[in-house]
């Protein structure tokens, strides 16, 4: 069709006539846009796809009425913003810090998000949080655990969950407690991947081992997603430590356990820094080879006995994803709740106002689905009241074994 001046004028008049009606309609459906950055494709796509479901479950709880004692569940939308609904915009960083940087920038400038939550890989959280800082948009690490993340002097960085020093501390507290009971724990073997997650984790563990008098007989760093871990496992086997402490993502964790079996090495005990060791895929693949493996975590379904809402929310997530909450999906769920709660109290979508509201956060632990004391951020944006737990894989499921106040069973030591 040839567009002449008459058509153009007509079209202009038509849209001018429609516009006044369109505007109030949009104002009514006010929404708060929150960016969610995860690896939706690439080697850890599975994590991202599960995370998507966890965030959607949280948004459903916020946007609709539910009778749970969880912030925002009992209201429709955010009451502080006249019932505005939370809308999530997902972005894919493919586990690549550079793509994370670009996607964060796009979310902020194109999608106009008010806040960003992410990212699984700590290495990506580094770049995403830098971009957020530059644009003064609050960033919340839902599930990143590298301790260095909150120590960079960023004003817009927050983390409600524990970091690897807190987690590692729990492990060493656990070792100390076992030693008091007369178990023999002298030597440790560290096995960690080569990005910021593995390096930070092993640094924390090395330091704690030194302080508390454990001997580290092997400290093995490996390249993530290696086609073979034979050489690495040989060194672990030669060291044969009392406790093997892996910090590995799912792929490498599966290969590690398989290769250990192939080379005839059975670890005396395994205490894992989560990641791959809280994924269903690992237990589907090699669960039978590692009964009694212990992993740190920040979540346990045991809690449902004490706090029934945990079980019900887990059912909602399970209906969405076909899986139970694990250490990651539970933290992702809470991440959005904490962020939305702050936006609600800020009564604004302005970055600085949300930041102030986050700083003022004081959420009692009973109003979360985690075993935490409360959610309250220190000056660096870290929640210091997030108590980690240790879980043991017994009879096909995880039971909480440490700390004592959260434990539902005695630890089986050594590993059967």
């Amino acid at each position: 069709m040839k567009i002449d001046r008459r058509h153009l004028l007509l079209g202009g008049a038509a849209s001018a006539a429609v516009l006044p009606f369109a505007k109030p309609a949009r104002a009514q459906a006010k929404e708060v846009v929150i960016g969610v950055i995860y690896p939706l494709s690439g080697a850890s796509a599975q994590i991202g796809v599960d995370a998507q479901k966890a965030f959607q479950t949280a948004a459903e709880l916020i946007n609709n009425k539910y009778d749970f004692d969880l912030p925002l569940a009992r209201d429709e939308g955010l009451p502080g913003l006249g019932g505005a609904k939370v809308r999530l915009v997902f972005a894919d960083h493919q586990a690549d810090p550079q793509k994370g940087r670009a996607e964060a920038e796009r979310l902020i400038t194109q999608e106009k998000v008010s806040a960003i939550v992410g990212t699984y890989q700590s290495a990506v959280a580094v770049t995403v949080s830098q971009i957020c800082e530059r644009y003064q948009i609050p960033f919340l690490s839902a599930d990143n655990s590298s301790p260095s993340l909150h120590r960079r002097g960023l004003k817009f960085y927050f983390r409600a969950a524990p970091h690897d020093e807190m987690f590692s501390q729990a492990m060493f507290d656990f070792f100390d407690a076992l030693k008091k009971k007369g178990k023999k724990i002298e030597t440790l073997a560290l096995f960690h991947e080569d990005t910021i997650f593995g390096t930070d984790s092993s640094n924390a563990q090395l330091k704690l081992a030194q302080e508390r008098g454990y001997k580290v007989v092997a400290d093995i760093k490996y390249r993530a997603n290696s086609p073979s871990l034979t050489a690495e496992v040989q060194q672990l086997k030669a060291a044969d430590a009392d406790v093997l402490m892996p910090s590995s993502y799912t792929t490498d964790a599966i290969l590690l356990i398989r290769t250990m079996g192939e080379l005839g090495y059975k670890a005396k005990n395994i205490v894992a820094q989560d990641a791959g060791f809280s994924e269903k895929a690992l237990y589907d693949a090699v669960g039978d080879k590692i009964p009694g493996v212990i992993s740190r975590g920040s979540f346990s379904l045991d809690l449902a006995a004490k706090r029934p809402m945990v079980g019900k929310i887990n059912d909602m997530y399970k209906a969405n994803s076909g899986k139970d909450f694990n250490d990651y999906s539970s933290r992702q769920f809470m991440g959005l709740i904490v962020m939305a709660d702050a936006i609600n109290r800020a009564k604004s979508t302005d970055g600085e106002k949300i930041r102030e509201a986050l700083v003022a956060t004081d959420m009692p632990g009973e109003k979360t689905i985690m075993p935490w004391k409360q959610v309250k951020f220190d000056a660096e944006g870290q929640n210091t009241f997030a108590d980690p737990v240790l879980l043991q894989y017994v009879g096909g499921k995880f039971v909480t074994i440490f700390p004592e106040q959260a434990a539902v069973a005695e630890a089986i030591w050594p590993m059967p």
């Binding site: 796509a45 599975q46 080569d194 760093k221 034979t230 050489a231 690495e232 030669a238 398989r258």
Partner: protein, 292 residues
């Protein structure tokens, strides 16, 4: 470092190396035949692993029995990929090399995306198979049975391929087309048929590798990436287009990787591979057994 450690490293390296060779040989074959690098080679491997997994999950067919089926299915897939996709890329008038790179690269991304969509990004594994998890111990040196069988399959495949290329009419047609596609057309050999056969063979070989690897490796849409990189190095090291080169290249890569880890920290074990690769590129750019 004890003797047992060194022997264990070399044995593991040799087994892995034979598998690397089997993964790489399809790539070498296709390159030698028509100067096309198949950037979707890793995704072919991924598809073969998924086929093995689904045959196991739905029909309880052990990976060992599935191997010939997967090989045959991948033969068809390879030939179809040539006839439906690559054939048209070969018709480009300008910048033909670039067009081929982008075509196979695009095929790789498409396959990865479809795999993630249809198979979900979950990590799959075959945890109960006849050979999976079994291991033989010879005086403190452990040889995992799946890798051992993989190595035997690799040796058999190379033997069969050698016989096929040297002794059969089809093999001779393959060699002839490689040397001079134009002249071959004059004596009435259909170039397209031979190329489709080459892609089919390449697919079948990587299919065998995928079936064997499904016994001991996890499976997910991106699994091909780390093996494809090694396959490219293997082919470049052994010599582009040389089937025997891929065999030797695979063994060298496996052994160098294993022995590097004896000297350097394991996170640097690929350094050895790339150092040898660079050395070969400097001294003998066509690769150890390359004829181009």
């Amino acid at each position: 470092m004890t003797t047992a450690t060194i022997i264990q490293s070399l044995a593991s390296g040799l087994l892995m190396g034979l598998l690397y060779g089997l993964v790489a040989v399809g790539l070498a074959l296709i390159f030698g035949l028509m100067d096309v690098t198949n950037f979707a080679h890793g995704e072919f491997l991924m598809l073969a692993m998924y086929m093995t997994f689904f045959l196991f999950a739905f029909f309880a067919i052990d990976p060992l029995l599935a191997a010939p089926l997967v090989g045959a299915a991948m033969f068809v897939f390879g030939a179809v990929a040539y006839l439906l996709v690559v054939r048209f890329a070969m018709r480009a008038k300008a910048n033909i090399g670039m067009v081929q790179i982008f075509t196979t690269f695009g095929l790789a991304i498409l396959m990865r995306g479809l795999a993630q969509y249809f198979f979900t990004p979950d990590y799959r594994s075959i945890n109960v198979s006849w050979l999976g998890g079994k291991t033989i111990s010879l005086g403190g040196v452990f040889l995992p049975v799946p890798q051992l069988v993989g190595a035997l399959v690799s040796l058999a495949a190379f033997g069969a391929l050698y016989f096929f290329i040297k002794k059969t009419d089809f093999g001779r047609a393959l060699e002839a087309t490689r040397e001079d596609a134009g002249a071959v057309a004059l004596v009435g050999i259909d170039k397209n048929k031979v190329f489709a056969l080459g892609w089919g063979l390449g697919g079948a070989l990587v299919g065998l590798a995928g079936a064997v690897m499904a016994m001991f490796f996890y499976i997910y849409p991106d699994v091909g990436a780390s093996f494809a990189l090694i396959a490219y190095v293997t082919v470049a090291l052994g010599g582009f287009g040389s089937v025997f080169g891929a065999f030797a290249g695979g063994i060298i890569v496996g052994l160098v990787e294993a022995s590097t880890a004896l000297i350097l920290p394991p996170s640097l074990k690929s350094v050895g591979i790339y150092a040898v690769y660079l050395l070969v590129v400097f001294i003998r750019p066509r690769g150890l057994f390359g004829s181009i």
